[in-house]
Structure formats: C-alpha cells, structure tokens
C-alpha cells in the first residue's frame, strides 16, 4: 500500500517538475521584458517625444484596426465554409481542407510573397483588387489581406470543430418540428456555436496581431506595431523595441485573461 502511494507521489512529482520547466521557459521572456523596461524610454516612446509617440500610437491603432477588420471579415466568411466542412461530404473535400491549412505550414515571408503575387498591383488578380480600390501593395488593405491569409486556418478549423461538436440529432429534431434549414441554422446551430466562434475569433485575432514576416513583404507602409518594433530595434536599439513590445504583450494578456473569465462565466 505504502509502495503504491510512493509510486503515485513520484509520478506526480515528475509531472510537476516537467510542467514547471515549460511554464518557466514561457514565463521568463515576459518577466525579462518587464525587467528590461526603461521607464524613461517608455515615456519618451509613448508620451513625451512627439515624433516617436505619434509613430507608436498610429502603428498601434493601425494594428488593432487591421486585425479587428481582418478577423471580423474572416469570421463571417468562414462560418459557411466551416459548416459545410463539418456537416457535408463532397468530392474534393480533403483537398479543400488541405488548402485551408497551407498558411500554417509555409514560412511567413513565403505567405507574404503569395499574397503579393495574387493580389498585388502586378499580381494575378491585381486588376480586380485595383479596380475595387483594395490593392494590397504598401496599403492598409495589404495588411488586412495578410492577416486574413495567415489566420484563416485557425478560424476555419476552430469553427469546424465547433460545428462538429453539436449533436446532429438536435438539428434533425428542429427540422422535424417545422424549422427550415435557415431557421434551424439561425436558431439552433449558430447559438450553440457561439463558444467556438468566440474562441476562433480570439485565436485568429492573436495570430493576425502577431504577424510580421508577411506584412514586411506586402505592406511595409503603413507601419504596423510589429514592423515598428523591428525598425526601432535596428535604428534606436533594444530599449526602444522593448518599450513597444511591452504594450503588445500587455494587450494580448488582457484580451486572453478577459476571454477566459468570460468563458468561465
């Protein structure tokens, strides 16, 4: 009996040590960022220096604006696709699923090149994006397009899993009670998918905000906060890059903690 209890203890101890290592590994950079922060540089970057602070605030607002727009558009467009993939079988379904996951597997710079050659002014569909006024080269729309491209797999896969987790018999009952396909989707399937829609939205938004490699290729200007971090690091050094980075880390932490609290409720 005692030997068995010791076995459990040593097992739990091993698990705890292994877990602590990964938590320490993830936490250290966050703590280091705060330790490296120079309050004077932070004030200068965000408040006192008119040139630097104006650049920092506009980059931050641009990043938030582009990421919210790209995630919202992506969410709306992904719901029908995810529903289709979760509920129906059709020829070429696996090919479509593979295509959706491509942005997960390719290097970020390559993703940028792909967006540029497709939707850039001289790209294959450049005539279309130009005529619609959403040409991607060095423009706000370029940032939105890149953010949508890189976060699409996360959004579609999360929504697909959400739809799959809804018991199909509930939808069958609703139809047998007189609900049309539209009514059942609107009143049963969609409300039951809200947790996965929120999860997909938050994860995709985080992915969009974190993108830099592809944005550097497609739209260096206007500068997002990530591009500015790289530029300040190269021009002014680490302390200035840290003062920008810390705001992004805080923003992400606040969003994720708030989301977890909402989900818990």
């Amino acid at each position: 009996m005692l030997a068995r209890a010791r076995g459990v203890e040593s097992f739990l101890l091993t698990i705890a040590i292994a877990s602590s290592i990964i938590v320490f590994f993830l936490l250290s950079p966050i703590i280091a960022l705060f330790l490296m922060l120079d309050p004077r540089v932070f004030r200068e970057s965000w408040f006192t220096d008119p040139v630097l602070s104006s650049e920092a605030w506009s980059a931050l607002f641009l990043t938030i604006q582009a990421s919210l727009l790209s995630t919202t558009v992506l969410c709306i467009l992904s719901i029908p696709l995810a529903y289709l993939l979760a509920r129906k079988s059709f020829l070429g379904k696996q090919v479509v699923e593979g295509l959706i996951d491509i942005p997960l597997m390719i290097p970020h710079a390559v993703a940028g090149i792909m967006v540029l050659v497709a939707y850039g002014r001289r790209g294959v569909l450049g005539w279309l994006t130009s005529s619609l006024g959403v040409a991607v080269d060095d423009s706000f729309w370029g940032i939105v397009a890149v953010m949508m491209f890189v976060s699409a797999p996360i959004m579609v896969d999360t929504l697909k899993l959400g739809f799959k987790s809804i018991d199909e018999s509930i939808e069958l009952v609703a139809r047998s009670l007189g609900g049309s396909l539209w009514t059942v989707f609107r009143r049963i399937t969609l409300p039951l998918s809200i947790p996965s829609i929120l999860t997909g939205y938050i994860l995709s938004w985080a992915r969009a905000v974190s993108e830099v490699g592809a944005i550097l290729i497609v739209a260096y200007y206007p500068k997002t906060i990530n591009v500015l971090v790289i530029e300040w690091f190269n021009t002014y050094g680490l302390r200035y890059a840290v003062s920008l980075s810390i705001v992004l880390v805080l923003l992400s932490l606040i969003v994720f903690i708030a989301t977890r609290m909402v989900f818990r409720k």
Partner: protein, 239 residues
C-alpha cells in the same frame, strides 16, 4: 392513415426495403428487429432525411415522399431526446409553434396546455441540463405533441432509462395515449416495451420489413423466439 408503399432507400452498401406498411390513425406501432437492421434509417426516411430511390409515403392519400422534413408533420424523438440545450423547457416546447407562425398568445396557451397534460408546468423555466432523465423525456414528448403532428417517431426513447424508470415511462406513455390519442411509430429492441405499448408490432431484419403482426401473433412467430428465450433463461435462473 399513413401508408408506405414499395419503399427502397440505398445508403452505400445498405438497402432499406419496406414492401408495404400501414399505420392507422391513433395507432401505436412498434418496430422491432436486431441492432443494425435499419430501424433508425427507416424512421429518418419517414421524417424526410433520406430520399428513397423508389416507393411512396402517403398521409391520408397525399403523397409526401418528396416533401422536406419541415413540411411533413412527422416529429422525431431521438434516443437522447435532442432537447435544445441553450433554450429553456418553455422555449423548447414553443419552438415548433413559433416556426409554424403561431402568435405569442397562442404559443403561450398551447405550451401551458401541454405542460399541464404532461405535468411539467413547474419546470418550464429550467434548462435541459437541470432536468432528470424522466423530465427530459416528458419535455421531448411535450415538444413533439404540442404541434399536433400526423405522427411521432420515437427512436429507442427508453434506452437511457434504468429498468424501474423504464416501466414508469411505459405507463406514462400509455396514460398519455388515453388523454391525447396520438399516432406513433416506436423503434425498440425490447420485447417488453413492444408488448406493453404496441397495438401492432412490425419486424425488420437485414434492412427489410418482414411483416406486421398483432401482439399475440408476434409472440407466436419465430421472430419473437430469441427475445422470449432470453426472458425464459432469466426466469429459469431465478427459479
């Protein structure tokens, strides 16, 4: 009356064949057969979720074979009752009335009426996760019956209940039939359910409906033999 004629449904390698079946008004027809013979496929075909490659389904002479599920008036009660988890009991029961275009007052009156009949008025404000298995079953029946369907299709509705609750559920359905007199097809592989509830028993094997029998007639048929042998073995053991 519901008539099924020469119905054939193909799903991959599986074929469902119903040469002829009549369900009379206010009849409680039990469909029996081993697991995997297509009883659920049969119910879902009646409900409109599978398209037959041949045959007809008639309701009082009207051919509804190509009607979509929402236009048939065949309400489904699946094994786990399929209650809408994000809605209250009231909203669950009201759903079928609302989508049919009833006004708020009529919806309220009808929901209160069926809740009274099924003795679930005290739980109308609760969510399905707060209900016991028996209460969930009553809500599912209320939701199916409140729209006054042509027929209700029950797919092994007692399978999640323990034997004591199962007996109670059978008694409850018998009482409900006396009060409301509805038509039903009930799929089960439990002989006691079939004998206690069924006016007649339809028997299926390998995707095909082999016949429809009176209860006593079914008990004398070779199809009832394996079920009766099971009961006999139990009785012998108890002696």
């Amino acid at each position: 009356m519901i008539v099924v004629e020469d119905l054939v449904v193909k799903l991959g390698d599986f074929t469902l064949e119903i040469p002829r079946l009549e369900v009379r008004d206010r009849e409680y027809l039990v469909v029996m057969g081993p697991s995997g013979v297509g009883k659920t496929v049969f119910l879902l075909t009646l409900a409109g979720f599978f398209t037959p490659m041949r045959g007809r389904i008639l309701v009082n002479g009207r051919n509804i074979t190509r009607y979509p599920p929402e236009k048939r008036g065949f309400t489904l009660i699946p094994q786990d009752y399929g209650l809408f988890p994000h809605m209250t009991v009231y909203e669950n029961i009201a759903f079928g009335l609302e989508v049919r275009g009833f006004n708020k007052k009529d919806v309220r009156d009808r929901v209160e009426w069926i809740a009274e009949v099924l003795e679930i008025k005290n739980i109308l404000g609760k969510k399905p996760r707060e209900l016991s298995g028996g209460e969930q079953q009553r809500v599912a029946l209320a939701r199916a019956l409140v729209v006054k369907p042509e027929i209700i299709l029950l797919d092994e509705p007692f399978s999640n209940l323990d034997p004591r609750r199962r007996a109670g559920a059978r008694e409850f359905i018998k009482e409900l039939r006396k009060k409301l007199g509805f038509t039903a097809i009930h799929v089960t592989h439990d002989l006691v359910d079939a004998v206690e509830l069924g006016d007649r028993i339809a028997y299926m094997e390998s995707g095909r409906l082999l016949g429809v029998y009176g209860v006593e007639e079914f008990l004398k048929s070779p199809y009832a033999r394996p079920y009766i042998d099971n009961v006999k073995a139990l009785v012998k053991f108890l002696r």
